[in-house]
């Protein structure tokens, strides 16, 4: 294991100061479930770890008129037990619930999952589908970045030196909106997503789609929005034909690779299947919301 220096500051400002001045490459630690594994790789560099779990607010989730402000270090286990969040963002909660085992859930966080920026991260498509906004604080002050611009490449995010993710904002959805997240794994648990799809839909009281946002994961270097989703869904009821066209759009938008978890063909095909199935679930839930 690489050598570490470890700090657990009790305020954001203290964390920013540590990150800005760090001697070795600094890493923010939340649940540690990705970080500790990375630090154990052969030839991993010495690391300056800033544990943010003791900073007030980093592990809490609170509602305001604008929506949900989520502390990025809240464990998935705590997050997924929140019935109030699940009733508004069931898809986001199920995405968070799918990360790893119960033991990983006890530590892993949405903020960590996002910042680690794995192409197969489960929460990122669901955050994107829900228009999540990243609140970034650093030596230069505070900035807001939409989540789809936060991840910049495989394992890369837009944080500059000294910056950390201070909060995630989930805007309050309009009435008649709900979401769903599905992923494909070969077993029933534990595996990294081979393909993932998150869908957020707004239906009017007649079941006609008013708004749609679809994001797919594990089929490109980063999670991506499916651009034609709005065009295909808005103004339509959720029919089989619409769903098939949506599936095709998702498959076409994907640019997957072949690796030890799946082939190009498999991922492309399955992401389409997941998208239409997630859309159906989101539609059923949205129908219950209006």
């Amino acid at each position: 294991m690489a050598a570490l220096t470890y700090h657990a500051p009790d305020s954001i400002d203290a964390a920013i100061a540590l990150l800005a001045d760090a001697s070795s490459p600094p890493k923010v630690m939340s649940g540690g479930t990705d970080l500790i594994i990375q630090m154990q790789r052969p030839k991993a560099p010495d690391t300056f770890v800033v544990d943010v779990k003791k900073i007030p607010g980093m592990r809490e989730a609170e509602w305001s008129d604008d929506g949900l402000t989520l502390g990025p270090a809240m464990s998935c286990s705590e997050f997924t037990k929140r019935g109030d969040i699940k009733s508004v963002f069931p898809g986001l909660v199920e995405a968070a619930y799918l990360i790893g085992s119960t033991q990983v859930q006890g530590r892993a966080s949405l903020g960590g999952n996002l910042c680690n920026a794995s192409p197969a991260a489960d929460t990122i498509p669901a955050l994107m589908a829900n228009h999540a906004i990243c609140v970034i604080q650093g030596p230069g002050g505070t900035r807001h970045v939409p989540v789809e611009a936060f991840v910049t490449g495989v394992g890369k995010n837009c944080l500059e030196k000294g910056e950390l993710l201070a909060a995630l904002i989930l805007p309050k959805p309009t009435p008649g909106t709900s979401d769903a997240y599905l992923r494909f794994i070969p077993r029933t648990e534990m595996d990294i997503a081979v393909a993932g799809a998150a869908v957020s839909l707004t239906l009017d009281h007649k079941g006609v789609c008013q708004r749609a946002r679809v994001a797919i994961g594990a089929v490109a270097p980063t999670a991506i929005l499916v651009p034609e989703a709005e065009e295909i869904l808005v103004g339509q009821p959720i029919s089989d034909d619409v769903l098939e066209r949506l599936a095709k759009a998702a498959s076409d938008a994907a640019s997957p690779i072949t690796d030890r978890r799946g082939t190009v063909e498999f991922r492309r095909q399955v992401v389409g299947v997941l998208t239409k199935r997630a859309a159906l679930i989101a539609a059923e839930r949205a129908g219950d919301q209006s």
Binding site: M1, F184, P186, R187, T188, E189, M190, D191, I192, D259, R260, R261, G262, T263, E265, F266, Q269, V270, V273
Partner: protein, 750 residues
């Protein structure tokens, strides 16, 4: 003793004597021992899958202040090429030595090259960077086809294929060829109305024991050196280490720690000889552990295989000919279980004409090790898939087809002996009347069944039973307990002696405190060590009778012993075992029973498994809906642990069939060397595993026992493969049935 009878203890579900320590975390496994002054060893592993070592310089590591010792292949003086040429070393030990620390070549990515011992784990790892190695990198050979084609890079310049009609004159990657036959398959196929012929393949899989290899050793100049390790065979560890380090057996004591799974994979040595060298050179105890990644990269998996099977039958279902050609990957050194594969493949069938040909092929992957019924799952997968296809073609129920051709008492096996009483037919009938087989099948699901066979072995076991003056006692045995066998030993001794099992404490002794015991493997323990326990108990009974006779002043022939009580046949006197023990001092000293045997008469165990699987046609995802494992145990000493063996083997086979495989890059680097991407079954992946214990007693064992540990992994591969084939309507020929593979088949079908 093999007729059905009432037992006091046999057949009960006692609490295992070692259980308290296991559920409280007190039990000590391989990595749990630390000694005063202990230092840590670490291994430098090859970054290349195939290369000549042109230079190895450990001087910088040796000179480092944190480093106590360094080990290389040069530290095995007695098993190098010279010794082999002189005939003083066995070839298989030369291979073991070169696997433990590479000789002139590295033969797989992760192959151990050298080792250091340092004050801390971290210091040992860091010191590996001080060792310089120069390589002449060669092209790796990663599949059977690549290994056997003309012009393939050759792993061993001296490998001349054994078993050819014309001796080989050119080195190749085929270590051996074997052929077995019975009757004349040409005649059999000519008689057939229907023929099925298919090619199959199975992947490299790992035994998947949750406990990585680990050892703590202390070299001692003045007495036996001590090796603590998790192993299925501590006497075998002793023998191998003694040979490698040129020591006498009495100079090494091996203590078998509790073992966190082996399944055949812990029947060899990896760390122990290296740790002992480091301990000898440093004068300190040394601890070494393998990481999970090391376990995958550098410990022995089960051989990948390619097979072709051809079966002919008459339209009434009589099988007239069975033929197979089997290729097994041995990994970097010869010795795949090609032989047992050839022997077992068609043994569930009483068919006159059989021909099997097998090839042991080396490839640049870790040296294969045994895995539960080694060789049989691969071979019987192919045979059972073909038999199921045959049933389909004939329009026959697959159980009826097997019943019609089932091996039974008197069947001539292809490998020589005739079968004695066996339970295949009983298993088939149990399958046919099982609730599972009677149940309706879900839509989108397929049902598969398959038979399986494994020989089981006997072999050497040594046991002593010491009785205390109060009648309690210890059972000193030497079979490392991998699945609860101490409970069975306790029950068998208690049954014979007529006492409560809890009064006898079973102990797995180290190599100094008990005589030689063969490795726990081959499903031998309950059979052979059990037999020794029974004989030792009977030895005690003879002594108890003699002591009672002396106390009563009669001859031993006038004393009977039943249910823990000695009876004076010429009066009404009786004495319990405890009462006799209380007077042992007066009658000649304390009482010890013993038996050192070479058990013969192991009975084979047949099994039949049923499996229902649903496949999602849009994604290829599989869901095991229902599973039943039916197997002949002869006599189930402890039914819970017998069921446990059935269930464990079934689930390993399900994993082998559905999701487990080694994934290699073109450079020969394993890409999924961890439990994240090497996917063994999870609790949520599985339904209940229903079990049916069939008991067709083995008359060679006093209680009728047949070994059960291994057969259970044989049927699942074809039971699952057939269920999937039925579900998707396409023949599965390649394992694992992973979703990308299945979806591809489904989509190509249109």
């Amino acid at each position: 003793m093999s007729e059905a009878r009432e037992y006091q203890h046999i057949g009960q579900r006692t609490i295992r004597p070692d259980g308290f320590d296991k559920v409280t975390g007190k039990a000590n496994y391989g990595a749990d021992l630390s000694l005063p002054g202990m230092i840590w060893g670490a291994i430098l592993r090859s970054p290349h899958a195939h290369a000549k070592i042109t230079a190895l310089d450990v001087s910088q590591a040796e000179a480092h202040p944190d480093v106590f010792a360094v080990a290389t292949y040069q530290d095995f003086p007695s098993v190098n090429a010279e010794a082999l040429a002189a005939g003083t070393a066995r070839k298989d030990l030369v291979d073991t030595a070169a696997n433990v620390l590479a000789d002139t070549k590295v033969l797989y990515h992760g192959h151990a090259i050298a080792a250091v011992a340092a004050r801390t784990e971290a210091a040992a790892q860091a010191a590996l960077d001080l060792i310089t190695v120069a390589y002449d990198v060669m092209e790796p050979v990663l599949t059977i086809d690549a290994a056997i084609k003309d012009g393939a890079p050759v792993l061993h310049d001296d490998m001349m294929t054994q078993g050819l009609a014309e001796p080989a004159s050119v080195a190749s990657n085929i270590a051996a060829r074997m052929e077995l036959k019975k009757g004349d398959v040409a005649v059999g196929f000519a008689d057939a109305d229907v023929i099925v012929e298919r090619a199959y393949e199975t992947p490299t899989v790992h035994q998947g024991y949750i406990e990585p290899h680990a050892t703590t050793v202390r070299f001692d100049d003045n007495g036996p050196s001590m090796i603590w390790c998790p192993t299925q065979g501590h006497f075998d560890v002793r023998a191998r280490v003694a040979q490698l380090l040129n020591m006498e057996l009495g100079q090494i004591k091996v203590v078998a720690s509790e073992i966190g799974g082996g399944f055949g994979g812990k029947t060899t040595v990896y760390l122990e000889p290296v740790a002992l060298i480091l301990s000898k050179k440093s004068g300190r105890p040394v601890k070494m552990t393998m990481s999970r990644e090391d376990v995958f990269r550098a410990s022995g998996p089960a051989s990948a295989s390619q097979s072709t099977v051809k079966i002919g039958a008459k339209s009434d279902g009589t099988i007239t000919a069975m033929q197979a050609s089997l290729h097994y990957e041995a990994g970097a050194f010869k010795g795949s279980p090609m032989g047992p594969g050839c022997m077992t493949i068609f043994t569930p069938y009483d068919v006159e004409n059989m021909y099997v040909e097998g090839f042991d092929v080396v490839v640049n992957k870790p040296k294969a090790a045994a895995y539960r019924a080694p060789g049989a799952p691969q071979a019987e997968f192919a045979a059972e898939m073909a038999v199921n296809e045959l049933a389909s073609k004939l329009g026959m129920d697959p159980i009826d087809l097997r019943l019609k051709n089932a091996a039974k008492e008197g069947t001539q096996t292809i490998y020589g002996p005739k079968l004695k009483t066996v339970g295949l037919e009983a298993c088939l009938l149990a399958a046919q009347s099982s609730p599972h087989y009677q149940s309706a099948l879900k839509d989108n699901a397929g049902r598969g069944l398959a038979a399986g066979f494994w020989f089981n072995i006997g072999g050497q076991s040594s046991v002593m039973i010491h009785l205390n003056p109060d009648g309690t006692g210890s059972i000193i045995e030497g079979s490392p307990d991998i699945g609860g066998s101490r409970a069975s030993m306790q029950m068998m001794a208690a049954e014979v002696l007529g006492v409560a099992p809890a009064t006898l404490n079973p102990i797995v002794a180290d190599t100094e405190h008990v005589a030689y015991n063969q490795t726990t493997g081959g499903s031998r323990t309950t059979f052979a060590t059990g037999m020794a326990v029974i004989e030792a108990a009977e030895d005690i009974i003879e002594q108890l009778k003699a002591r009672a006779a002396e106390l009563w002043n009669v001859t031993p022939e006038q004393v009977d012993y039943q249910n823990g009580i000695a009876l004076n046949l010429s009066s009404d006197d009786h004495l319990s075992l405890a009462e006799i023990c209380a007077k042992a001092e007066k009658t000649g000293g304390q009482i010890t029973g013993r038996a050192n045997i070479n058990a013969r008469g192991a009975g084979p165990s047949f099994a039949v498994h049923l499996c229902d699987i649903e496949v999602d046609p849009e994604t290829g995802k599989t869901d095991v809906l229902r599973y039943t494992a039916i197997q002949d145990a002869g006599k189930a000493i402890h039914p819970s642990y017998v069921e446990g063996q059935f269930q464990g083997g079934a689930v390993q086979g399900i994993g082998w069939a559905l999701n487990e495989e080694y994934v290699y890059s073109a450079d020969g680097v394993m890409e999924n060397a961890g439990f994240l991407d090497y996917r063994i079954p999870l609790a949520s992946d599985l339904p209940e595993i229903e079990t049916i214990i069939v008991e067709v007693p083995n008359s060679f064992h006093p209680f009728g026992v047949r070994g059960v540990g291994e057969t259970g992994i044989v049927p699942p591969l074809a039971a699952v493969g057939t269920a999937v084939s039925e579900a998707i309507g396409l023949p599965v020929t390649s394992l694992p049935c992973s979703p990308p593979k299945l979806l591809k088949m489904i989509m190509e079908q249109g």
